[in-house]
């Protein structure tokens, strides 16, 4: 099993990469909305809302709930 420091050192760059991809996706969405001058349709908007909820959930420190389970439940709603 890994120590706390080992967990961070082993997976930090991978997590950085994945978060940057999420940030880029949201920037891409904003650019598309600006280009077409219209927001996403209802179904797509629901998915974006879930993504934002998931991001918020990740920011909660010391959550008693397993984050992965919480996100899987969120994603199951769309």
């Amino acid at each position: 099993m890994l120590s706390p420091d080992q967990v961070v050192e082993t997976y930090f760059l991978e997590a950085r990469h994945q978060l940057l991809e999420v940030a880029a996706l949201l920037d891409r969405l904003d650019a598309a909305v600006a280009r077409e001058d219209r927001p996403p349709g209802v179904q797509a908007a629901g998915k974006v809302a879930v993504l934002r909820q998931a991001i918020t959930a990740l920011g909660v420190e010391g959550s008693p709930t397993d984050r992965t389970v919480k996100l899987l439940e969120l994603f199951a709603s769309v």
């Binding site: 760059l13 990469h17 940057l20 991809e21 880029a24 996706l25 920037d27 891409r28 650019a31």
Partner: protein, 278 residues
Amino acid sequence: MQIIQPHYHAIARTAQDYERMAMSGVVAVAEPAFWAGFDRLYPETFIDYFRQISEFEPTRAAQYGIRHFCWVAVNPKEAENPTLTREVLEHFPEFFAKPTVLGVGETGLHKSTRNECESLEAHVELAMKHGQLVLIHTPHLADKAHGTNKVLEVLAGMNVDPERIWIDHVEEQTIKPCLDAGYWVGFTLYPITKCSPKRAVDMLEKYGTDRILVNSSADWGPSDPFTLQECILEFRRRGHSLEEALQVFHNNPCRFLGQNPKFDIRPIRVETLAEVPA
């Protein structure tokens, strides 16, 4: 589709890369001088390395129908030995005379120390004196913005032609000042630690395609030359035409590298014939 891989560390890769790249449409690669994973101690080690990338590697690539070009430099990570840097720089002109050497690179910054800045300046000065192209490495991760600004600061104090200088590894936070200053920029696509294919296409859509080079830089670390092809796929599946893809992934390298007459691959275009030839 014909592709040029403008930043590729071939000596760190197997021939299988060449074979697969050739099958995917790569017609040429350009190999900047790189860090060996440890700091070299002797000028002769660099000389033999430069011989390897300028004499031997083109023969290996040619077996797969790929043209191989290269650059010479002392890596920024080795700039803390100014005596060694000076001694190696003295040998550059003999390599500038070789038929596949395109210029000086990758020089640049790693931790942006005083020695690194002096080495960068010496490299650029020598390149300009000999009419060579320049490829500049910018730091990764935490030092990216600071190091890129420092590169721009060093160049601003010199008499350079920005159109002959390529600042590589730019990302969303560094692309604009480099383009605004008139330089060419490069996106380096890595599986984890640098730009991703999707983010590269985002930047192409935001900034346009002028003075932009896309590369995978594959080396001996965790890297993949086919991130370049992933980027082309991402670009095409967002609806950009084959002609637009050719402009970015073939013709832009021709335009920048072709400023050195040794790089004789010319831009191409898609043409639909009016009639089916007999």
